[in-house]
Protein backbone atom coordinates (compact mmCIF):
# COMPACT_ATOMS: atom_id res chain seq x y z
CA UNK A 1 0.00 0.00 0.00
CA UNK A 2 2.55 2.49 1.12
CA UNK A 3 5.15 1.78 -1.48
CA UNK A 4 4.83 5.15 -3.22
CA UNK A 5 4.38 7.75 -0.48
CA UNK A 6 6.51 10.21 -2.39
CA UNK A 7 4.33 9.97 -5.44
CA UNK A 8 1.20 10.40 -3.30
CA UNK A 9 2.65 13.54 -1.81
CA UNK A 10 3.67 14.93 -5.16
CA UNK A 11 0.13 14.42 -6.41
CA UNK A 12 -1.25 16.32 -3.46
CA UNK A 13 1.19 19.19 -4.00
CA UNK A 14 0.33 19.37 -7.70
CA UNK A 15 -3.32 19.54 -6.76
CA UNK A 16 -2.72 22.39 -4.37
CA UNK A 17 -0.64 24.32 -6.89
CA UNK A 18 -3.48 24.01 -9.39
CA UNK A 19 -5.98 25.35 -6.87
CA UNK A 20 -3.76 28.31 -6.06
CA UNK A 21 -3.28 29.14 -9.75
CA UNK A 22 -7.03 28.98 -10.34
CA UNK A 23 -7.68 31.33 -7.42
CA UNK A 24 -5.07 33.78 -8.70
CA UNK A 25 -6.61 33.71 -12.18
CA UNK A 26 -10.05 34.21 -10.72
CA UNK A 27 -8.80 37.30 -8.92
CA UNK A 28 -7.75 38.97 -12.17
CA UNK A 29 -11.20 40.41 -12.98
CA UNK A 30 -11.33 42.04 -9.57
CA UNK A 31 -7.95 43.74 -10.00
CA UNK A 32 -9.11 46.59 -12.27
CA UNK A 33 -11.78 47.49 -9.73
CA UNK A 34 -9.19 47.75 -6.98
CA UNK A 35 -6.85 49.78 -9.17
CA UNK A 36 -9.66 52.12 -10.17
CA UNK A 37 -10.78 52.61 -6.58
CA UNK A 38 -7.21 53.06 -5.34
CA UNK A 39 -6.48 55.51 -8.14
CA UNK A 40 -9.49 57.79 -7.71
CA UNK A 41 -9.26 57.68 -3.93
CA UNK A 42 -5.58 58.59 -4.11
CA UNK A 43 -6.23 61.48 -6.49
CA UNK A 44 -9.59 62.63 -5.20
CA UNK A 45 -9.95 61.99 -1.52
CA UNK A 46 -7.89 64.96 -0.30
CA UNK A 47 -10.19 67.43 -2.12
CA UNK A 48 -13.24 66.04 -0.36
CA UNK A 49 -14.46 67.90 2.69
CA UNK A 50 -17.75 69.23 3.94
CA UNK A 51 -17.41 72.44 1.90
CA UNK A 52 -17.02 70.39 -1.25
CA UNK A 53 -20.54 69.05 -0.74
CA UNK A 54 -22.11 72.30 0.43
CA UNK A 55 -20.64 74.94 -1.89
CA UNK A 56 -21.37 76.01 -5.44
CA UNK A 57 -18.64 75.79 -8.05
CA UNK A 58 -16.04 78.59 -7.96
CA UNK A 59 -15.75 80.81 -11.05
CA UNK A 60 -13.34 79.48 -13.69
CA UNK A 61 -9.71 79.83 -12.65
CA UNK A 62 -10.42 80.41 -8.98
CA UNK A 63 -9.69 77.66 -6.49
CA UNK A 64 -12.18 76.18 -4.02
CA UNK A 65 -15.91 75.77 -4.47
CA UNK A 66 -17.93 72.58 -4.46
CA UNK A 67 -20.43 70.45 -6.26
CA UNK A 68 -23.61 71.09 -4.26
CA UNK A 69 -25.58 71.98 -7.39
CA UNK A 70 -24.40 68.86 -9.23
CA UNK A 71 -25.32 66.61 -6.31
CA UNK A 72 -28.79 68.10 -6.14
CA UNK A 73 -28.98 68.02 -9.94
CA UNK A 74 -28.11 64.35 -10.18
CA UNK A 75 -30.81 63.52 -7.63
CA UNK A 76 -33.41 65.56 -9.51
CA UNK A 77 -32.48 64.33 -12.98
CA UNK A 78 -32.30 60.68 -11.92
CA UNK A 79 -35.41 61.10 -9.77
CA UNK A 80 -37.46 62.39 -12.69
CA UNK A 81 -36.05 59.61 -14.89
CA UNK A 82 -37.29 57.09 -12.31
CA UNK A 83 -40.71 58.75 -12.16
CA UNK A 84 -40.99 58.60 -15.95
CA UNK A 85 -39.37 55.22 -16.50
CA UNK A 86 -40.49 53.00 -13.65
CA UNK A 87 -44.29 52.99 -14.11
CA UNK A 88 -43.94 52.39 -17.86
CA UNK A 89 -41.42 49.62 -17.28
CA UNK A 90 -43.41 47.86 -14.59
CA UNK A 91 -46.58 47.92 -16.69
CA UNK A 92 -44.64 46.57 -19.67
CA UNK A 93 -43.05 43.89 -17.47
CA UNK A 94 -46.48 42.93 -16.16
CA UNK A 95 -47.80 42.75 -19.70
CA UNK A 96 -44.96 40.46 -20.79
CA UNK A 97 -45.18 38.11 -17.83
CA UNK A 98 -48.93 38.00 -17.17
CA UNK A 99 -50.71 38.82 -20.39
CA UNK A 100 -48.56 38.78 -23.53
CA UNK A 101 -46.48 35.71 -22.59
CA UNK A 102 -45.61 33.98 -25.85
CA UNK A 103 -47.64 36.23 -28.14
CA UNK A 104 -46.19 38.04 -31.15
CA UNK A 105 -46.64 41.45 -29.54
CA UNK A 106 -44.81 40.30 -26.40
CA UNK A 107 -41.95 39.00 -28.52
CA UNK A 108 -41.76 42.33 -30.35
CA UNK A 109 -41.64 44.22 -27.05
CA UNK A 110 -38.89 41.95 -25.73
CA UNK A 111 -36.78 42.38 -28.84
CA UNK A 112 -37.33 46.16 -28.80
CA UNK A 113 -36.26 46.32 -25.17
CA UNK A 114 -33.11 44.34 -25.91
CA UNK A 115 -32.28 46.52 -28.91
CA UNK A 116 -32.97 49.72 -26.95
CA UNK A 117 -30.65 48.45 -24.24
CA UNK A 118 -27.93 48.08 -26.86
CA UNK A 119 -28.30 51.58 -28.32
CA UNK A 120 -25.17 53.62 -27.46
CA UNK A 121 -25.88 56.18 -24.78
CA UNK A 122 -24.64 59.04 -26.95
CA UNK A 123 -27.31 58.16 -29.50
CA UNK A 124 -29.94 58.22 -26.75
CA UNK A 125 -28.65 61.70 -25.88
CA UNK A 126 -29.04 62.87 -29.47
CA UNK A 127 -32.55 61.45 -29.63
CA UNK A 128 -33.54 63.24 -26.43
CA UNK A 129 -32.02 66.40 -27.89
CA UNK A 130 -34.15 66.06 -31.02
CA UNK A 131 -37.35 65.10 -29.14
CA UNK A 132 -37.21 67.43 -26.17
CA UNK A 133 -34.45 70.06 -26.33
CA UNK A 134 -35.19 71.30 -29.86
CA UNK A 135 -38.98 71.61 -29.44
CA UNK A 136 -38.47 73.35 -26.08
CA UNK A 137 -35.81 75.59 -27.51
CA UNK A 138 -33.32 75.16 -24.66
CA UNK A 139 -31.42 72.62 -22.58
CA UNK A 140 -33.16 71.27 -19.50
CA UNK A 141 -32.85 68.76 -16.70
CA UNK A 142 -36.11 67.26 -17.93
CA UNK A 143 -34.65 66.39 -21.32
CA UNK A 144 -31.78 64.68 -19.50
CA UNK A 145 -34.28 62.70 -17.46
CA UNK A 146 -36.02 61.59 -20.66
CA UNK A 147 -32.69 60.33 -22.01
CA UNK A 148 -31.91 58.48 -18.79
CA UNK A 149 -35.45 57.06 -18.60
CA UNK A 150 -34.95 55.63 -22.10
CA UNK A 151 -31.82 53.94 -20.81
CA UNK A 152 -33.40 52.49 -17.72
CA UNK A 153 -36.69 51.28 -19.25
CA UNK A 154 -35.34 48.16 -20.99
CA UNK A 155 -33.45 47.07 -17.87
CA UNK A 156 -36.45 47.44 -15.59
CA UNK A 157 -38.86 45.89 -18.12
CA UNK A 158 -36.80 42.74 -18.44
CA UNK A 159 -36.06 42.34 -14.73
CA UNK A 160 -39.73 42.95 -13.87
CA UNK A 161 -40.77 40.28 -16.34
CA UNK A 162 -38.21 37.80 -15.05
CA UNK A 163 -39.09 38.42 -11.42
CA UNK A 164 -42.85 38.13 -11.98
CA UNK A 165 -42.38 34.91 -13.91
CA UNK A 166 -40.68 33.47 -10.85
CA UNK A 167 -43.81 34.07 -8.76
CA UNK A 168 -45.28 30.56 -8.46
CA UNK A 169 -48.54 29.89 -10.30
CA UNK A 170 -50.07 28.39 -7.18
CA UNK A 171 -50.18 31.89 -5.68
CA UNK A 172 -52.06 33.21 -8.71
CA UNK A 173 -54.45 30.27 -8.45
CA UNK A 174 -54.91 30.77 -4.71
CA UNK A 175 -56.06 34.30 -5.42
CA UNK A 176 -58.20 33.44 -8.44
CA UNK A 177 -59.85 30.62 -6.49
CA UNK A 178 -60.96 33.21 -3.93
CA UNK A 179 -62.89 34.94 -6.69
CA UNK A 180 -60.36 37.70 -7.23
CA UNK A 181 -60.30 38.97 -10.83
CA UNK A 182 -57.10 38.41 -12.81
CA UNK A 183 -55.91 42.03 -12.94
CA UNK A 184 -56.43 42.42 -9.20
CA UNK A 185 -54.55 39.19 -8.65
CA UNK A 186 -51.67 40.61 -10.68
CA UNK A 187 -51.63 43.94 -8.86
CA UNK A 188 -52.29 42.65 -5.33
CA UNK A 189 -50.59 39.26 -5.27
CA UNK A 190 -48.12 38.81 -8.12
CA UNK A 191 -46.58 42.29 -8.08
CA UNK A 192 -46.22 42.55 -4.27
CA UNK A 193 -44.69 39.06 -4.17
CA UNK A 194 -42.13 40.11 -6.76
CA UNK A 195 -41.68 43.65 -5.43
CA UNK A 196 -38.30 43.07 -3.81
CA UNK A 197 -36.99 41.76 -7.11
CA UNK A 198 -38.51 44.63 -9.05
CA UNK A 199 -36.91 47.09 -6.63
CA UNK A 200 -33.58 45.36 -7.11
CA UNK A 201 -33.96 45.84 -10.85
CA UNK A 202 -34.75 49.52 -10.38
CA UNK A 203 -31.69 50.01 -8.16
CA UNK A 204 -29.44 48.30 -10.71
CA UNK A 205 -30.88 50.51 -13.44
CA UNK A 206 -30.43 53.66 -11.33
CA UNK A 207 -26.84 52.66 -10.62
CA UNK A 208 -26.30 52.35 -14.36
CA UNK A 209 -27.82 55.66 -15.38
CA UNK A 210 -26.53 57.76 -12.48
CA UNK A 211 -23.04 57.75 -13.95
CA UNK A 212 -24.02 58.29 -17.59
CA UNK A 213 -22.46 61.38 -19.14
CA UNK A 214 -23.14 61.19 -22.84
CA UNK A 215 -26.96 61.41 -22.60
CA UNK A 216 -26.65 64.53 -20.43
CA UNK A 217 -24.12 66.46 -22.55
CA UNK A 218 -26.68 67.96 -24.89
CA UNK A 219 -29.75 67.67 -22.69
CA UNK A 220 -29.21 68.70 -19.06
CA UNK A 221 -26.05 70.41 -20.35
CA UNK A 222 -24.71 71.60 -16.98
CA UNK A 223 -24.99 74.77 -14.96
CA UNK A 224 -22.60 76.62 -12.65
CA UNK A 225 -25.47 77.71 -10.41
CA UNK A 226 -27.98 75.98 -8.22
CA UNK A 227 -31.35 75.34 -9.80
CA UNK A 228 -34.26 73.18 -8.73
CA UNK A 229 -36.27 73.91 -11.86
CA UNK A 230 -36.27 70.85 -14.13
CA UNK A 231 -37.05 73.03 -17.14
CA UNK A 232 -33.68 74.76 -16.82
CA UNK A 233 -30.22 73.45 -17.62
CA UNK A 234 -28.94 71.61 -14.58
CA UNK A 235 -25.63 70.33 -13.34
CA UNK A 236 -24.96 66.65 -12.63
CA UNK A 237 -22.03 64.73 -11.22
CA UNK A 238 -20.91 63.11 -14.50
CA UNK A 239 -21.06 66.53 -16.20
CA UNK A 240 -18.83 68.01 -13.51
CA UNK A 241 -16.28 65.28 -14.08
CA UNK A 242 -16.41 65.77 -17.83
CA UNK A 243 -16.25 69.56 -17.78
CA UNK A 244 -13.61 69.83 -15.06
CA UNK A 245 -11.38 67.11 -16.40
CA UNK A 246 -11.31 68.77 -19.83
CA UNK A 247 -10.68 72.25 -18.36
CA UNK A 248 -7.26 73.91 -18.21
CA UNK A 249 -7.38 74.46 -14.44
CA UNK A 250 -5.44 72.26 -12.07
CA UNK A 251 -7.86 72.79 -9.17
CA UNK A 252 -10.74 71.64 -11.34
CA UNK A 253 -8.82 68.49 -12.24
CA UNK A 254 -8.52 67.74 -8.54
CA UNK A 255 -12.22 68.38 -8.12
CA UNK A 256 -13.01 66.12 -11.08
CA UNK A 257 -11.20 63.31 -9.22
CA UNK A 258 -13.03 64.12 -6.03
CA UNK A 259 -16.36 64.07 -7.87
CA UNK A 260 -15.39 60.73 -9.37
CA UNK A 261 -14.93 59.39 -5.84
CA UNK A 262 -18.38 60.63 -4.82
CA UNK A 263 -20.09 59.27 -7.93
CA UNK A 264 -18.31 55.91 -7.81
CA UNK A 265 -19.18 55.36 -4.18
CA UNK A 266 -22.80 56.32 -4.80
CA UNK A 267 -23.02 53.75 -7.58
CA UNK A 268 -21.16 51.19 -5.50
CA UNK A 269 -23.59 51.72 -2.66
CA UNK A 270 -26.57 51.23 -4.96
CA UNK A 271 -25.04 48.01 -6.25
CA UNK A 272 -24.41 46.71 -2.75
CA UNK A 273 -27.94 47.63 -1.74
CA UNK A 274 -29.41 45.75 -4.71
CA UNK A 275 -27.21 42.76 -3.80
CA UNK A 276 -28.55 42.74 -0.27
CA UNK A 277 -32.11 42.87 -1.60
CA UNK A 278 -31.39 40.08 -4.08
CA UNK A 279 -29.97 37.97 -1.22
CA UNK A 280 -33.14 38.59 0.73
CA UNK A 281 -35.23 37.24 -2.14
CA UNK A 282 -33.03 34.16 -2.36
CA UNK A 283 -33.39 33.72 1.41
CA UNK A 284 -37.15 33.85 1.26
CA UNK A 285 -37.41 30.94 -1.15
Amino acid sequence: MNTYPARENWRRIKNQIAVIIIILLALIPTLPLFFILANIIHEGLRSINLDFFLHLPAPPGETGGGISNALVGTFIIVGIAVIIGVPISILAGIYLSEYGKDSKLAEIIRISADVLQGVPSIVIGIVAYAWVVRPMGHFSAFSGSVALALMMIPVVVRTTEEVLRLVPDILREASLALGVPYWRTVMKVVLPTGMVGVTTGILIAVARIAGETAPLLFTAFGNQFMTLNPMEPMNALPLVIFNYATSPYEDWWRQAWATAVVLTFMVLLLNILSRILAKRIAGEK
Binding site: P168, L171, E173, S175, A177, G179, V189
Partner: protein
Protein backbone atom coordinates in the same frame (compact mmCIF):
# COMPACT_ATOMS: atom_id res chain seq x y z
CA UNK B 1 -76.92 6.40 3.62
CA UNK B 2 -78.44 6.48 0.20
CA UNK B 3 -77.76 9.09 -2.40
CA UNK B 4 -81.36 9.52 -3.48
CA UNK B 5 -82.60 10.99 -0.23
CA UNK B 6 -79.94 13.66 0.15
CA UNK B 7 -80.20 17.19 -1.21
CA UNK B 8 -77.88 17.65 -4.19
CA UNK B 9 -75.58 20.65 -4.44
CA UNK B 10 -73.65 19.93 -7.64
CA UNK B 11 -74.97 18.17 -10.66
CA UNK B 12 -73.11 17.77 -13.93
CA UNK B 13 -74.68 16.83 -17.22
CA UNK B 14 -72.58 15.35 -19.96
CA UNK B 15 -69.57 17.28 -18.73
CA UNK B 16 -66.49 17.04 -20.94
CA UNK B 17 -63.27 18.96 -20.44
CA UNK B 18 -60.53 19.40 -23.00
CA UNK B 19 -56.92 20.51 -23.24
CA UNK B 20 -56.68 21.67 -26.84
CA UNK B 21 -58.05 18.61 -28.66
CA UNK B 22 -57.39 16.15 -25.86
CA UNK B 23 -60.52 15.14 -23.98
CA UNK B 24 -59.39 14.76 -20.39
CA UNK B 25 -62.77 13.99 -18.84
CA UNK B 26 -65.57 12.41 -20.78
CA UNK B 27 -69.33 12.82 -20.46
CA UNK B 28 -69.48 12.98 -16.69
CA UNK B 29 -72.90 12.81 -15.05
CA UNK B 30 -72.68 13.04 -11.31
CA UNK B 31 -74.76 14.34 -8.41
CA UNK B 32 -72.80 15.54 -5.43
CA UNK B 33 -74.78 15.59 -2.18
CA UNK B 34 -74.82 18.62 0.05
CA UNK B 35 -72.87 18.74 3.33
CA UNK B 36 -71.23 15.42 2.71
CA UNK B 37 -67.66 14.48 1.94
CA UNK B 38 -67.29 13.16 -1.59
CA UNK B 39 -63.96 11.58 -2.48
CA UNK B 40 -62.66 11.41 -6.04
CA UNK B 41 -60.34 8.51 -6.68
CA UNK B 42 -58.65 6.89 -9.60
CA UNK B 43 -55.26 6.25 -11.11
CA UNK B 44 -52.88 9.09 -11.90
CA UNK B 45 -53.89 11.04 -14.99
CA UNK B 46 -57.51 9.89 -14.95
CA UNK B 47 -58.83 13.44 -14.74
CA UNK B 48 -59.56 14.03 -11.06
CA UNK B 49 -57.79 17.38 -10.97
CA UNK B 50 -59.33 18.40 -14.27
CA UNK B 51 -62.81 17.54 -12.99
CA UNK B 52 -62.47 19.36 -9.69
CA UNK B 53 -61.09 22.45 -11.46
CA UNK B 54 -64.19 22.51 -13.66
CA UNK B 55 -66.34 22.90 -10.57
CA UNK B 56 -64.87 26.33 -9.73
CA UNK B 57 -64.04 27.22 -13.31
CA UNK B 58 -60.30 27.25 -12.79
CA UNK B 59 -59.97 24.76 -15.64
CA UNK B 60 -60.67 27.38 -18.26
CA UNK B 61 -57.63 29.41 -17.13
CA UNK B 62 -55.32 26.86 -18.72
CA UNK B 63 -54.58 28.10 -22.25
CA UNK B 64 -56.44 25.99 -24.77
CA UNK B 65 -58.70 24.41 -22.17
CA UNK B 66 -62.46 24.28 -22.59
CA UNK B 67 -65.57 22.66 -21.20
CA UNK B 68 -68.77 21.31 -22.77
CA UNK B 69 -71.94 20.15 -21.03
CA UNK B 70 -73.42 21.71 -17.91
CA UNK B 71 -72.58 22.02 -14.24
CA UNK B 72 -75.44 22.96 -11.95
CA UNK B 73 -74.69 24.49 -8.58
CA UNK B 74 -78.09 24.14 -6.94
CA UNK B 75 -80.16 25.20 -9.94
CA UNK B 76 -77.83 27.50 -11.76
CA UNK B 77 -75.56 26.42 -14.57
CA UNK B 78 -72.24 27.81 -13.38
CA UNK B 79 -70.90 27.85 -16.91
CA UNK B 80 -73.32 30.69 -17.53
CA UNK B 81 -72.38 32.59 -14.38
CA UNK B 82 -69.52 35.02 -13.86
CA UNK B 83 -66.53 32.85 -12.82
CA UNK B 84 -65.76 35.37 -10.07
CA UNK B 85 -69.18 34.69 -8.49
CA UNK B 86 -68.77 30.93 -8.86
CA UNK B 87 -65.37 31.02 -7.14
CA UNK B 88 -66.76 32.96 -4.19
CA UNK B 89 -69.29 30.19 -3.70
CA UNK B 90 -66.93 27.29 -4.39
CA UNK B 91 -63.64 27.52 -2.52
CA UNK B 92 -60.51 25.52 -3.15
CA UNK B 93 -57.59 24.08 -1.23
CA UNK B 94 -54.59 23.00 -3.25
CA UNK B 95 -52.12 20.17 -3.10
CA UNK B 96 -49.26 22.35 -1.85
CA UNK B 97 -50.01 24.87 0.87
CA UNK B 98 -49.95 28.28 -0.79
CA UNK B 99 -50.36 31.10 1.75
CA UNK B 100 -49.53 34.53 0.34
CA UNK B 101 -45.91 35.17 1.33
CA UNK B 102 -46.35 38.94 1.56
CA UNK B 103 -49.19 38.67 4.06
CA UNK B 104 -49.47 37.95 7.77
CA UNK B 105 -51.52 35.04 9.10
CA UNK B 106 -54.37 37.43 9.81
CA UNK B 107 -54.23 39.00 6.36
CA UNK B 108 -54.05 35.58 4.74
CA UNK B 109 -57.26 34.47 6.41
CA UNK B 110 -59.03 37.62 5.22
CA UNK B 111 -57.37 37.64 1.79
CA UNK B 112 -60.70 36.85 0.12
CA UNK B 113 -61.93 40.26 1.27
CA UNK B 114 -58.69 42.22 1.21
CA UNK B 115 -57.76 41.27 -2.36
CA UNK B 116 -61.19 42.25 -3.60
CA UNK B 117 -60.92 45.61 -1.87
CA UNK B 118 -63.82 44.79 0.47
CA UNK B 119 -63.33 46.77 3.68
CA UNK B 120 -64.75 45.10 6.75
CA UNK B 121 -65.28 46.91 10.03
CA UNK B 122 -62.48 45.99 12.42
CA UNK B 123 -64.57 43.90 14.80
CA UNK B 124 -66.31 42.04 11.99
CA UNK B 125 -62.94 41.27 10.38
CA UNK B 126 -61.62 39.98 13.71
CA UNK B 127 -64.71 37.85 14.14
CA UNK B 128 -64.48 36.27 10.70
CA UNK B 129 -60.76 35.61 11.13
CA UNK B 130 -61.27 33.92 14.48
CA UNK B 131 -64.25 31.93 13.23
CA UNK B 132 -62.36 30.69 10.16
CA UNK B 133 -59.22 29.84 12.13
CA UNK B 134 -61.26 27.96 14.72
CA UNK B 135 -63.05 26.06 11.95
CA UNK B 136 -59.66 25.17 10.51
CA UNK B 137 -58.46 24.00 13.96
CA UNK B 138 -55.62 26.51 13.85
CA UNK B 139 -56.81 29.24 16.22
CA UNK B 140 -55.15 27.96 19.38
CA UNK B 141 -51.80 27.62 17.62
CA UNK B 142 -51.73 31.06 16.01
CA UNK B 143 -53.90 33.36 18.10
CA UNK B 144 -50.81 35.04 19.60
CA UNK B 145 -48.86 35.33 16.36
CA UNK B 146 -51.58 36.56 14.01
CA UNK B 147 -49.32 39.30 12.75
CA UNK B 148 -46.46 37.09 11.69
CA UNK B 149 -45.98 35.96 8.12
CA UNK B 150 -48.07 32.93 7.19
CA UNK B 151 -45.05 31.36 5.55
CA UNK B 152 -43.35 30.93 8.95
CA UNK B 153 -45.80 28.18 9.86
CA UNK B 154 -45.16 24.47 9.38
CA UNK B 155 -46.50 22.77 6.25
CA UNK B 156 -49.50 21.34 8.06
CA UNK B 157 -50.29 24.66 9.71
CA UNK B 158 -49.94 26.43 6.36
CA UNK B 159 -52.42 24.02 4.82
CA UNK B 160 -54.90 24.68 7.65
CA UNK B 161 -54.30 28.39 7.13
CA UNK B 162 -55.27 27.89 3.49
CA UNK B 163 -58.39 26.06 4.61
CA UNK B 164 -59.23 28.96 6.93
CA UNK B 165 -58.64 31.40 4.07
CA UNK B 166 -61.06 29.44 1.86
CA UNK B 167 -63.65 29.17 4.65
CA UNK B 168 -63.50 32.87 5.55
CA UNK B 169 -65.50 33.86 2.47
CA UNK B 170 -68.20 31.38 3.57
CA UNK B 171 -68.32 29.18 0.48
CA UNK B 172 -71.00 26.57 -0.06
CA UNK B 173 -68.52 24.00 -1.34
CA UNK B 174 -64.88 23.38 -0.56
CA UNK B 175 -62.85 21.61 -3.23
CA UNK B 176 -59.66 19.92 -2.07
CA UNK B 177 -57.11 18.49 -4.47
CA UNK B 178 -54.95 16.02 -2.55
CA UNK B 179 -54.69 18.44 0.38
CA UNK B 180 -52.55 16.13 2.51
CA UNK B 181 -50.23 14.63 -0.07
CA UNK B 182 -47.48 17.17 0.68
CA UNK B 183 -47.79 16.75 4.44
CA UNK B 184 -46.37 14.46 7.13
CA UNK B 185 -48.67 11.73 8.55
CA UNK B 186 -49.48 13.65 11.73
CA UNK B 187 -50.50 16.82 9.88
CA UNK B 188 -52.46 14.68 7.41
CA UNK B 189 -54.42 13.13 10.21
CA UNK B 190 -55.20 16.54 11.71
CA UNK B 191 -56.57 17.67 8.38
CA UNK B 192 -58.60 14.51 7.99
CA UNK B 193 -60.24 15.07 11.37
CA UNK B 194 -60.87 18.64 10.39
CA UNK B 195 -62.58 17.62 7.15
CA UNK B 196 -64.98 15.36 9.02
CA UNK B 197 -65.93 18.27 11.28
CA UNK B 198 -66.20 20.71 8.42
CA UNK B 199 -68.95 18.88 6.62
CA UNK B 200 -71.39 20.40 9.08
CA UNK B 201 -70.52 23.74 7.50
CA UNK B 202 -69.69 23.04 3.87
CA UNK B 203 -69.92 20.41 1.21
CA UNK B 204 -66.51 18.87 0.59
CA UNK B 205 -65.21 17.37 -2.61
CA UNK B 206 -61.79 15.89 -2.11
CA UNK B 207 -59.35 14.24 -4.49
CA UNK B 208 -57.23 11.61 -2.80
CA UNK B 209 -54.91 8.81 -3.77
CA UNK B 210 -54.99 7.45 -0.28
CA UNK B 211 -57.56 4.71 0.04
CA UNK B 212 -57.56 4.44 3.82
CA UNK B 213 -57.97 8.20 3.94
CA UNK B 214 -60.97 8.09 1.62
CA UNK B 215 -62.38 5.31 3.77
CA UNK B 216 -61.95 7.33 6.95
CA UNK B 217 -63.35 10.64 5.82
CA UNK B 218 -65.66 10.28 2.86
CA UNK B 219 -69.33 9.48 2.69
CA UNK B 220 -69.35 8.97 -1.05
CA UNK B 221 -66.67 7.99 -3.50
CA UNK B 222 -66.45 8.54 -7.21
CA UNK B 223 -64.05 6.35 -9.14
CA UNK B 224 -62.58 7.82 -12.32
CA UNK B 225 -60.73 5.88 -14.96
CA UNK B 226 -59.21 7.32 -18.16
CA UNK B 227 -61.43 10.38 -17.98
CA UNK B 228 -64.63 8.49 -17.32
CA UNK B 229 -66.69 8.26 -14.18
CA UNK B 230 -66.76 4.53 -13.69
CA UNK B 231 -68.58 4.20 -10.43
CA UNK B 232 -70.12 6.44 -7.81
CA UNK B 233 -71.74 5.52 -4.55
CA UNK B 234 -71.50 5.41 -0.76
CA UNK B 235 -67.87 4.84 0.16
CA UNK B 236 -68.48 1.77 2.30
CA UNK B 237 -70.46 0.11 -0.47
CA UNK B 238 -68.00 1.00 -3.21
CA UNK B 239 -65.05 -0.21 -1.16
CA UNK B 240 -66.56 -3.51 -0.07
CA UNK B 241 -68.66 -4.33 -3.05
CA UNK B 242 -67.48 -2.58 -6.21
CA UNK B 243 -69.72 -3.14 -9.19
CA UNK B 244 -67.21 -2.38 -11.92
CA UNK B 245 -64.19 -4.67 -12.41
CA UNK B 246 -61.96 -1.59 -12.96
CA UNK B 247 -62.89 -0.24 -9.53
CA UNK B 248 -62.11 -3.57 -7.99
CA UNK B 249 -58.76 -3.77 -9.74
CA UNK B 250 -57.90 -0.30 -8.48
CA UNK B 251 -58.98 -1.06 -4.94
CA UNK B 252 -56.94 -4.24 -4.85
CA UNK B 253 -53.92 -2.32 -6.10
CA UNK B 254 -53.68 -3.85 -9.56
CA UNK B 255 -52.91 -0.40 -10.97
CA UNK B 256 -52.28 2.98 -9.47
Amino acid sequence: MSLERLPIIFRTEDLCAYYEDFMAIKHINIKIPQKQVTALMGPSGCGKTTFIRCLNRLHELTPGARITGSIYLRDQNILQLDPIVVRRRVGMVFQRPNPFPTMTIYENVLAGYKLLGIRLPRNEADEIAEWALRKAALWEEVKDILHRRGTFLSGGQQQRLCIARALAVKPEVLLMDEPTSALDPKSSLQIENLIVELKETVTIVIVTHNMPQAGRISDFTAFFYLGELVEFGPTAELFTNPKDPRTEEYLTGKFS
